[in-house]
């Protein structure tokens, strides 16, 4: 293990049915960094996030995942959470009968829920006692999910498309929230399509056809992605440059 590496994926492959969705992934995420994961729809970005979290049905058939130098391949999702990994889904679940304040205090949460709501641009007085159900808009639910991550203070937060459903004017709030997570010591794997959000990462990786095709300095990776050389990639014929 390289010193300062929080998460290391070695030669990780995952197939869903007959389709290989992740193909020989090698990825190291340094402790304390924001690492953006960019790529077209279907590139495997969310699948990679689910596999790291240990979600049902996303167990790699090949390779190893090391978290703080220890293998986590056999750990169930809740054990990974207790080890310090969490995931904010692209479309967060809604819960009938569960209030926002209860949700923010769940499990491994330790931060101040009111401050977390403020960090994502929501007024605690207005949202604290609201139910976490379908009465919230998609954008509101998304912000509350980020607030939950902030209160949890995980070692590794996987944020799956955090900008989806959030209006353009509020992107600054989102970026501030991500920076707030980093300032409390969290490392962030930032899965996003939005260049404005990805640009705040310290490093980035580009996925295409289940493979990491470009890795390094954020702007260079974004430029490679924007060049669209991999837009029609089938994982075999494309020249990834």
């Amino acid at each position: 293990m390289v010193m300062g590496v929080l998460l290391e994926l070695r030669n990780m492959s995952l197939s869903l049915g007959q389709r290989r969705v992740l193909d020989a992934i090698d990825l190291s995420i340094a402790s304390g960094e924001i690492h953006a994961l960019v790529g077209a729809n279907g590139a495997g970005k969310s699948t990679l996030g689910y596999a790291i979290m240990g979600c049902e049905g996303y167990r790699p058939q090949q390779g190893t995942m090391l978290f703080e130098g220890k293998p986590i391949d056999e750990l169930p999702i809740q054990a990974r959470a207790r080890a310090g990994i969490t995931l904010a889904w692209q479309e967060p679940a809604r819960f009938e009968g569960l209030r926002v304040c209860d949700y923010l205090a769940l499990g491994a949460s330790q931060g101040d829920p009111g401050a977390a709501l403020e960090a994502v641009g929501l007024a605690p007085a207005e949202y604290f006692y609201r139910p976490l159900d379908k009465t919230l808009s998609g954008g509101e639910r998304k912000r509350i999910e980020l607030a939950a991550i902030i209160t949890m203070r995980p070692k590794l937060a996987i944020l799956d498309e955090p900008a989806a459903g959030i209006d353009l004017l509020s992107l600054d709030d989102l970026i501030a929230a991500i920076q707030a997570m980093k300032s409390t010591g969290s490392t962030i794997l930032l899965i996003t399509h939005v260049e404005q959000v990805a640009a705040h990462a310290d490093r980035a990786s580009q996925l295409c056809g289940g493979r990491i095709v470009c890795q390094g300095e954020t702007q260079a990776v974004i430029e490679n992605y924007k060049a669209r050389r991999c837009r029609r990639c089938d994982g075999e014929t494309c020249n990834h440059g």
Partner: protein
């Protein structure tokens, strides 16, 4: 006195605060077995009850124009392991009356027993009733409870009911309610039941939207685990212009439990509209994984989801 203390204990087991429920200045009817141990009317509320051939016959009337601030308390219980209780209840809200009823059915020690309720409820014009019914059937599962109610809402009346049985076992619960809703009247029925072991839940709730612009909602939230079973039938008939109704069934199954939910909707007027939605299944995997990703253990996460749904 010992019986009263048993009643207090039963209330506590049901998760209630006896001091809040049994206030001396509220209208109430308290009975165990076929013994009436508490009966009080207050200005605006007339409570009458007697026992006749092993049937408690009760009449509760809220007088015209009265708004009753304190909840009216009805408490029916069985204190022994064996036995039964028959209740006939007539509940009337006269025009413009408004009240909340807390009804407790407590059968904490029942091993082989029954409770049967026949209720006639009438809300006259512009009357409003919130009926909160909480049951506690103990831990043995040996009781059979058969509540039957015929409820009629006159013009602009409003009837909201909330039935809950969330603690302990259910035994056999066999509910059959029929509500006739008049013009511009509104009803909302919510049922929340959690069945365990070999519990059996049968629920039939029928709302007939008979008057113009009548509105109705049947909402059931049922969870079963182990070998428990539930049959949920929500029936909504729209029979008048502008009537609007909805049936909303959400059921969660764990272990070997089984549930059937049948929302039955029928419209007999071209300007009526009735809708339904029903979902039965195990705990939603996304909800479960979200809570696991917050560090909860699987059992804790499932309990959170189910108890949240049951309110």
């Amino acid at each position: 006195m010992a019986d009263f203390e048993s009643l207090i204990d039963a209330l506590r087991l049901a998760g209630e605060d006896p001091l809040q429920v049994l206030t001396p200045d509220s209208a109430h009817l308290v009975a165990y077995d076929h013994h009436i141990v508490g009966l009080q009317s207050i200005p605006g509320v007339v409570v009458l009850a007697r026992t006749e051939q092993d049937v408690i016959k009760a009449q509760v009337t809220i007088l015209e124009g009265f708004t009753i601030a304190q909840p009216i308390h009805l408490c029916f219980s069985l204190l022994d392991r064996f036995g039964g209780q028959n209740v006939e209840l007539e509940l009337t809200l006269q025009p413009g009356a408004s009240a909340t009823v807390w009804s407790h059915c407590l059968f904490a020690h029942a091993e082989r027993a029954f409770h049967a309720m026949q209720a006639q409820v009438r809300l006259q014009e512009k009357a409003s009733l919130r009926y909160q019914e909480s049951h506690y059937h103990g831990l043995y599962g040996g009781i059979t409870v058969r509540p039957r109610a015929r409820i009629r809402l006159d013009r602009e009346a409003r009837y909201l009911s909330d039935f809950s049985l969330l603690q302990g076992r259910v035994g056999l619960l066999d509910i059959d309610y029929v509500i006739d809703v008049g013009a511009d009247a509104v009803t909302e029925l919510t049922s929340r039941v959690y069945g365990h072991a070999a519990d059996e839940i049968r629920m039939r709730e029928q709302v007939n939207l008979e008057g113009e612009r009548a509105r109705g909602l049947i909402k059931s939230r049922i969870a079963v685990e182990d070998e428990a079973t539930a049959q949920v039938l929500g029936i909504m008939h729209g029979n008048a212009a502008g009537a609007r109704g909805h049936v909303d069934c959400l059921e969660i199954v764990r272990g070997q439990g089984t549930v059937s939910a049948i929302p039955e909707v029928q419209v007999s007027h071209p300007q009526a509209k009735v809708t339904h939605e029903a979902a039965i299944g195990s705990v939603d995997p996304r909800q479960l994984e979200t809570l696991l990703a917050r560090g909860l253990e699987p059992d804790e996460a499932v309990d959170r989801i189910i108890l949240g749904m049951l309110g």
